[in-house]
């Protein structure tokens, strides 16, 4: 009985998106999305621009009204609740720092709105500034901050009230590559420390891989796959996901009369297509592709280009009208020059069969 109650409670805690849609005119920006986010999870919503991820985030924040469906937090249906009563923190792509207020006043704004005493405001601001590694910045004007500092202030302001939901819309897109990577790590550590349910919208798959417990890949208003980063990377659900997360080789596969899976004229041992499927696509990550001297059991090809990036080497192989990319580290690779005949091995355990 107690166990049952606990289970129910666990099911209720967190964020539930239930059959949510949003249409603008005839355009379905978000198309019947259902998703459960357990409490304390870090979710990255990933997808190309126009896939509906930002619209979904704005609906969770209450800035857009869903055309259908409901949004539930900890068992409470918040769909009809206006934004300012939802108790959430949001970081906007533009950051939306209030230009006429100082750093401290920006962070204290949600406290001021709720009539928190001045001394307490001051104390909370100091706490948050320490949390984002900007102690003593309270009296600076926001216009005098660097990009990374503004970013942190926006995060601190969103966290000032310890919200039950932390939403970020492309939060790091304005930063340069190096700072962005550092902030990704910092953001993830901050989230782990606070244990707050967090949803980040991004189009950067590296960002999603770095930070997320749960990656939600969206395309054309629908969820294409929702799983852990490594699952998404290793077992993409379809060609769209495989192509969007990291780089991949997508090669045609078909079943021959003997029942073997054949890729580019070469049977792949131990690779089986799902029952009833006679042709499809094989997705294999470049680092899983093995190269060897041409011979039995290998796909015959010709090296067309070699991109030596120092840390890794990408070898482009032309085989049967397709280009296969293999990535190796300099140590494991023999000297191969462009134009060489070569054999390509696709290990069956690294191949994912997808529908065409």
């Amino acid at each position: 009985m107690a166990q049952d109650l606990l289970n129910r409670k666990q099911n209720m805690s967190g964020l539930s998106i239930e059959g949510v849609s949003k249409t603008f005119g005839t355009f379905r920006a978000v198309d019947d999305i259902t998703l459960h986010v357990p409490h304390g999870t870090f979710v990255c919503m990933l997808g190309p621009s126009g896939c509906g991820k930002t619209t979904l985030l704005r609906m969770i924040a209450g800035l857009e009204e869903p055309s259908a469906g409901r949004i539930v937090i900890d068992g409470e249906d918040i769909t009809p609740v206006p934004t300012h009563k939802r108790n959430l923190g949001m970081v906007f792509q533009s950051l939306a720092l209030f230009p006429h207020l100082t750093v401290g006043e920006n962070i204290a704004y949600p406290l001021r709105i709720r009539g928190v005493a001045r001394a307490q405001q001051r104390q909370r601001v100091e706490e948050l500034l320490a949390l984002i590694h900007l102690p003593g910045f309270a009296d600076r004007p926001v216009s005098k901050l660097s990009g990374g500092q503004r970013q942190r202030v926006a995060i601190a302001r969103a966290l000032a009230l310890s919200p039950r939901l932390f939403l970020l819309d492309e939060p790091l897109s304005a930063l340069d590559a190096k700072l962005r990577e550092a902030m990704q790590v910092e953001l993830r550590q901050l989230q782990e420390r606070l244990g707050i349910t967090t949803i980040v919208v991004t189009h950067d798959q590296r960002e999603a891989m770095t930070m997320a417990d749960l990656v939600v890949v969206m395309g054309e208003g629908r969820i294409r796959q929702a799983a852990s980063p490594i699952e998404i990377y290793r077992r993409p659900a379809d060609a769209f996901v495989a192509g969007f997360i990291g780089s991949t080789n997508l090669l045609p596969v078909e079943v021959d009369r003997a029942g073997r899976a054949v890729v580019l004229g070469q049977a792949i041992p131990d690779l089986a297509l799902p029952a009833g499927m006679s042709r499809g696509l094989v997705s294999i990550r470049p680092e899983d592709v093995r190269l060897q001297p041409p011979g039995d059991g290998a796909i015959r090809g010709r090296v067309s280009f070699i991109r030596d990036l120092g840390g890794t080497i990408e070898t482009f192989v032309e085989a049967g009208g397709s280009t296969i990319v293999a990535v190796t580290t300099p140590r494991e690779r023999d000297d191969i020059a462009a134009g060489t005949e070569i054999g390509v091995i696709l290990p069956a355990e690294a191949c994912v069969v997808l529908e065409e």
Binding site: T83, H84, M90, F92, S94, F98, I113, K144, A160
Partner: protein, 287 residues
């Protein structure tokens, strides 16, 4: 675009044309007016070059002081009312669809094409007993019988606000249309109702724009001299009306000039004061 400051005389060449225009059409006429304000008036409408302070001395009376005070008060009221109406209106306008925005802006621009005379007589009809808006109120049963709403202070104020509002909106529009819409959204996610967010985020973030618009409408209203005559009683006449009266009907150019100079000085002082008060706050508006 070059970024370094101009160095040689040739770098300043593009400024020559506007500078000449400014000198010919502003500096020279204004200097002439200042000079005339010290001239001696002759009976019969002429004046002779001199340096007398009589014109200014005559101005320092309770009567003209009262008129000056009334003019400034009226202009301040017009400015405050115009911005109070125009700012929320323009803000909502920038949130409307592009189509709606264009229709509104065209309508507002068309009001600008009306001359002060037409506005004055249109309102005098609307405020009249025989054909005015009170007849409508009688028709819907809100009023027992139609009455005239003019001449009076309310009529003068309405006419001047009507005339200045399109300018107010057109001055506010460019700044509000560029305002980051996520500022209010951020305020809402932080717990502020939309109305509260508007008053403690949008309005303060636009303080410079608001101060500039207040000054513009104030100066604009100060120069208004027809509407007080058409819609008001003599006690509602502004200093501009008296200047016109002295210059054209009494043929007393030196006194009219002295009043004009005085009016300019007082308005400059007020504008300076506004900037001082508005500018002593934080200066870090632009990011």
């Amino acid at each position: 675009m070059r970024r370094e400051p101009p160095r040689t005389l040739a770098d300043y060449a593009p400024l020559a044309f506007p500078a000449i225009m400014l000198v010919v059409f502003f500096v020279i006429p204004f200097s002439t007016m200042i000079a005339v304000s010290f001239f001696r008036r002759q009976q019969g409408g002429f004046y002779t070059p001199d340096f007398v302070l009589d014109n200014y001395a005559r101005f320092l009376s309770a009567f003209f002081g009262g008129v000056l005070g009334f003019s400034l008060m009226l202009a301040v009221m017009v400015a405050v009312i115009c911005v109070s109406i125009g700012f929320p209106f323009t803000y909502l306008l920038t949130k409307a669809s592009r189509r709606a925005q264009i229709v509104w802006l065209v309508c507002i621009l068309s009001v600008l094409s009306l001359s002060e005379v037409i506005i004055g007589f249109a309102w005098s009809t609307l405020f009249s007993r025989t054909a005015g808006i009170t007849n409508l109120l009688v028709a819907v049963g809100l009023m027992a019988e139609p009455r005239a709403l003019l001449p009076g202070f309310g009529a003068v104020l309405t006419g001047m606000v009507y005339q200045a509002l399109p300018y107010t909106i057109l001055v506010l529009y460019p700044s509000l249309v560029r305002l980051d819409p996520t500022l209010l959204e951020a305020a809402r996610t932080l717990g502020a109702s939309p109305l509260r967010g508007f008053f403690n985020i949008i309005v303060p973030a636009q303080r410079n724009t608001i101060v500039a618009t207040l000054i513009m409408v104030f100066v604009f209203a100060l120069g208004c001299y027809l509407l007080p005559q058409i819609l008001g009683r003599p006690q509602h006449w502004t200093l501009s009306v008296l200047i016109t009266d002295q210059a054209i009907y009494q043929s007393n150019m030196p006194f009219a000039a002295a009043m004009a100079v005085f009016l300019v000085l007082i308005s400059l002082a007020l504008v300076g004061l506004t900037l001082l008060i508005g500018g002593t706050g934080r200066q870090h508006h632009d990011a």
